[in-house]
Symmetry: C2
Subunit: 293 residues, 2 copies
């Protein structure tokens, strides 16, 4: 931290993966968010990108822009950030703190992956099964509760403390063909993966894992953001290996559809009938300024 930069020393048989994400107060989290949750979130969203690439977390840099330096705020922010960093085995190697009218945090993460094993969005092939690593829409539900003034409901937690799915990294590297993290809503993120792979998908709406006690759960599962679950495709031949490894790591997952030739998503019901195109819109920070905060 004392030099103008940091020297990164990694093993020669691995490649590096880099990703960067910014979160801004009032846009990506409410202005009254606890400082520890801000620190946690700033790193979590970046770790989620590494997980989607199949890369093991290694180093990160922190750029903090804030209106003033209040030591108690800084201590709580750092505690939330550091707790996630420690259990993720990622090390802070550089930073910059500047004054700005509004709080924002930019983290750049560097991960390592055995050469040639990074997962790409563009590798999905027709016939692959499509999985998600956990229930979708819970963060959107938590956001709604937060905006409703609730602070103690346990349903707020997925929004307050998104958990990057790092346990999946070694399994995805071996079993998955393509992967993406679900940050902007499942419909949009799966769409990105399909587009990059130049394929389509058949998705069974009834199999999308969600909180069925919530009457808005399907909409939130498809279009809510901030879930930070992983969506990945697996070829049929690797399904037994996927199941064995996930069982051994005690990881749950759900099959929600399969890759087909063509373009776009074909929505279906469990009985195989076509479902009407779900209506909704994924989160777009520029299109919908009032939604957060």
């Amino acid at each position: 931290m004392g030099d103008d930069g940091a020297v990164l020393r990694g093993p020669d048989d691995r490649e590096l993966v880099i990703a960067t994400d910014t979160i801004v107060s009032g846009i990506h989290f409410p202005p009254d968010f606890p400082p520890g949750a801000v620190g946690h979130r700033a790193l979590a969203v970046n770790l989620s990108d590494l997980a989607a690439m199949g890369a093991d977390p290694a180093w990160y840099t922190l750029a903090l822009a804030l209106p003033d330096i209040r030591p108690p705020w800084m201590v709580r922010f750092a505690r939330g950030l550091d707790a996630l960093a420690r259990r993720s085995h990622i090390h802070l190697v550089g930073g910059d703190t500047v004054r700005a009218p509004v709080l924002s945090v930019t983290i750049t993460v560097v991960g390592t992956v055995p050469k040639g094993q990074a997962l790409l969005r563009s590798a999905a092939r027709p016939g692959d099964r499509i999985f998600v690593s956990g229930p979708l829409g819970l963060a959107a539900e938590g956001l709604a509760l937060w905006q409703d003034g609730q602070r103690r409901s346990r349903h707020i937690r997925p929004f307050l403390h998104p958990e990057p799915r790092l346990s999946w990294i070694p399994i995805l590297r071996v079993c998955a063909r393509a992967a993406i993290d679900v940050s902007d809503g499942f419909a949009q993120d799966l769409g990105h993966l399909l587009e990059a792979s130049q394929v389509g998908a058949a998705v069974d709406l009834d199999r999308i894992p969600r909180d069925r006690r919530d009457p808005n759960s399907l909409n939130r599962a498809l279009f809510g953001g901030d879930d930070y679950e992983l969506c990945f495709t697996v070829p049929n031949a690797r399904l037994p290996d996927l199941r064995a490894r996930a069982r051994s790591a005690r990881l749950a997952f759900s099959e929600v559809g399969h890759v087909i030739p063509g373009r776009g998503i074909s929505w279906q019901r469990s009985d195989g009938s076509a479902a009407p195109e779900p209506k909704g819109r994924s989160f777009d920070h520029f299109a919908d300024p009032a939604r957060r905060g």
Copy 2:
């Protein structure tokens, strides 16, 4: 750019160096700065860190926070950024664009250096000569002119288009012992280097290169920020090599003092007499909110 992160493939015999810096409108540059100059500056300040580490630029990520997306602004911003990136041989490998009340740009740069050859601040030894790569205080002079409403004076250029001293990188790796870039003012930055190396320095005020037509030049040279010149120490045995390589690369430089045992900077005149401790203050974004913009 299509994936959650980018895979970096570098040669096995080199190490990576990473650095990150944020610039904020109204803090690090005036709100009426030309968009191309904002793009240029955001990358230049980071490239300067790589130069000070002796690392060759390789990749960068861009996190852009801005109040709205105006395509003409974006085009001019990108043009200024890209022009510097191209001639610096550094490649964009990731990014994030978010909405925020005030424009800020965070760039993280990754450079490569042959193993073990990264320059550190902590390597200076008593007896080393201290050099700077060019005149100091010109950016502070340009800022003063800009704040005075001048837009056409050529003296604005060092402030508007700081030029990272990349040509020095291969020379510093071979000849220098310790290095730092002059971003916060020479007195403060040399102080950081000395502190990291646990040594002191004797500095000849009369030899500090500056614009002598400017009556405030000494103050600006010692305490003005944003010069992005390099300050480095060289052991006596390597001086002939330094001179030969700098001549061959047509690079000017100035010797301003030498490293001594002890702590702090001993200011002197050319005749060897002690100079009074220069009065002034290096730029601190938090202490002096009104200074910029």
